[in-house]
């Protein structure tokens, strides 16, 4: 099962096993990662699952599509490596992924 490392807003790092097919957001929720709120339940309608993809994972994870990009407009402190974690599906290719949770509590 792929391992995803989440760095929460306090800088605490946790590596979790997340099953293929779940979103990076769901992996965070299931593993109690602070700061991923996912208010809209993963339907790309809020921005509270906002996370930063650590380099060098940006190439593998990729850029947001148009729908996600427009939703990211709502996100606090959007950066070039910002993604909505509900839109990233976990696959074997993401084994070892490191994401940093954004300030979604604000």
């Amino acid at each position: 099962m792929p391992k995803i490392t989440y760095i929460d807003s306090k800088g605490i790092s946790k590596t979790c096993e997340v099953a293929n097919g779940l979103s990076v957001m769901e992996g965070a929720i299931q593993n109690g990662i602070d700061g991923i709120l996912a208010i809209c339940g993963g339907s790309c309608a809020c921005s509270t699952c906002h996370a930063y993809i650590e380099e060098p994972w940006m190439t593998t994870v990729g850029s947001p599509d148009e729908i996600e990009a427009s939703t990211l407009e709502l996100a606090v402190d959007r950066q070039p490596n910002s993604r909505l974690s509900c839109q990233i599906e976990v696959t074997d290719a993401l084994d070892g992924l490191v994401v940093r949770v954004a300030d979604n509590d604000g």
């Binding site: 769901e26 929720i29 299931q30 109690g32 996912a38 208010i39 809209c40 339940g41 339907s43 790309c44 309608a45 148009e66 729908i67 427009s70 939703t71 407009e73 709502l74 509590d105």
Partner: protein
């Protein structure tokens, strides 16, 4: 002696948000979240969408895993029904007779489905879509039938129709009014979706109601107001919801069409607030009293309710927004565009990607966007900021709406 707990009745989206917000605002006392259903708090929107196609296990609907509630230090009382609120003694009473004292009380009791009326309406082949149990029952039964009749041309009915078609079922949809989603969208958008559903093979009957139901040798026979009886495998009724205001009303609080609360989510009782589908509230953004049925309202109003429980009077001024997924069309609504006196189209309807922006007395009041998420987000921002825009600007595709929203 420690203080009585803060108690939240209703373990849905709003109830959970009240708890989250209370802890975030620094409330460190005892916190109890009560739910009548036997499951952990879960999301309802997927129940009328992909959940019906069998893609999601029930557990994936939970907002949070069980461990979260211990971490939040919330006592979760599930499968417990509250019988009454004893305001004088600051206590609630469960149906099993047990009493629980409260220092502050939040009512996030949500809503229940409006039941179908008429002969045969209580037969087991009638399904609703509100709870996880409803969803599981309908999903299972859908596998056994080839023909589905849906009563109600609102969001629930239309989403179920789309899912049933994706499963290859024959679908008849009945709506008593002359257009779809009449409460929420403009006639132009209603017409677009009527065309969309018909293009996907739904037998759509507008201005048509159900007169009665009868089971005949394993088939459900639906008698309707216009046309011959329909023989069907099951019937799904999505004809609206009724706010669960009874606990409040029985305790002497105002509750016509929802628990009445002010712009701070407060009832007339200084120690009782309410939030979500169950409230009739003063909406600071809309500047009127309204009952909203949405995830946005549940979440945003719950935050206000939590603040009020701690004596921080925040006004509820968030822009309402909503979404519905039907086939490949993602319909997103920003603000409340109805009624409007002017509207402007952005994009082309034939492309399947367009927006209608609505104006009232010269001011932008809302937008319906179909596969135009940028327009939707820009409209939410424009509404939140109170930016003055003209219909002409919004109709011009060479004007970047996001840029407009950033100025």
């Amino acid at each position: 002696m420690s203080a009585a707990p803060f108690v939240v009745i209703g373990a849905g989206q709003a109830g959970l948000q009240v708890c989250d917000s209370l802890r975030k605002l620094g409330y460190a006392g005892e916190l109890v979240l009560i739910g009548a259903e036997a499951t952990l708090p879960y999301q309802r929107p997927p129940l009328s969408k992909k959940f019906l196609a069998g893609d999601l296990e029930a557990e994936r609907l939970y907002f949070r895993p069980a461990t979260y509630y211990a971490k939040l230090d919330v006592t979760l009382l599930l499968d417990r029904e509250v019988h009454r609120i004893d305001r004088e003694h600051h206590a609630i009473e469960f149906t099993d007779g047990l009493r629980l004292a409260y220092a502050k009380l939040a009512l996030t009791t949500g809503a229940r489905v409006r039941p179908l009326q008429g002969p045969g309406a209580d037969c087991p082949d009638v399904f609703y879509v509100r709870t996880l149990d409803d969803g599981l029952r309908l999903r299972a039964r859908l596998r056994d039938v080839s023909h589905v009749t849906i009563v109600g041309g609102g969001f629930i009915g239309l989403e179920v129709a789309a899912m049933a078609r994706s499963l290859g079922k024959e679908v008849v949809l009945l709506e008593t009014l002359d257009r779809l989603m009449a409460r929420a969208v403009s006639p132009a958008v209603s017409a677009y979706f009527a065309d969309l559903h018909r293009a996907h093979g739904v037998d759509l009957r507008l201005a048509c109601g159900v007169r009665g139901l009868e089971t005949d040798a394993g088939t459900l026979r639906v008698s309707i107001s216009q046309g011959p009886d329909i023989d069907t495998g099951l019937l799904v009724a999505g004809i609206g919801v009724l706010p669960n205001a009874e606990l409040a009303v029985d305790a002497g609080l105002e509750g016509r069409d929802g628990i009445v609360v002010d712009v701070h989510a407060r009832t007339a009782d200084p120690d009782i607030v309410a939030a979500g589908d169950c409230t009739l509230h003063d909406n600071g953004f809309l500047a009127r009293q309204v009952r909203l049925e949405s995830v946005q309202n549940a979440v945003d109003q719950a935050k206000i309710a939590a603040a009020s429980m701690l004596g921080l009077a925040e006004p509820y001024v968030q822009v309402p927004w909503f979404w519905s997924d039907q086939y490949d069309a993602k319909l997103q609504m920003a603000g409340i565009g109805m009624p409007f006196d002017e509207c402007v189209l952005r994009g082309e309807r034939a492309s399947g990607s367009f927006s209608m922006f609505y104006f009232r007395a010269g001011r932008l009041v809302g937008a319906d966007s179909i596969n135009r998420p940028v327009d939707h987000m820009a409209c939410r921002k424009l509404l939140a900021q109170g930016t003055i825009v003209s219909p002409a600007e919004l109709g011009r595709e060479d004007i970047d709406l996001m840029q407009l929203a950033r100025t």
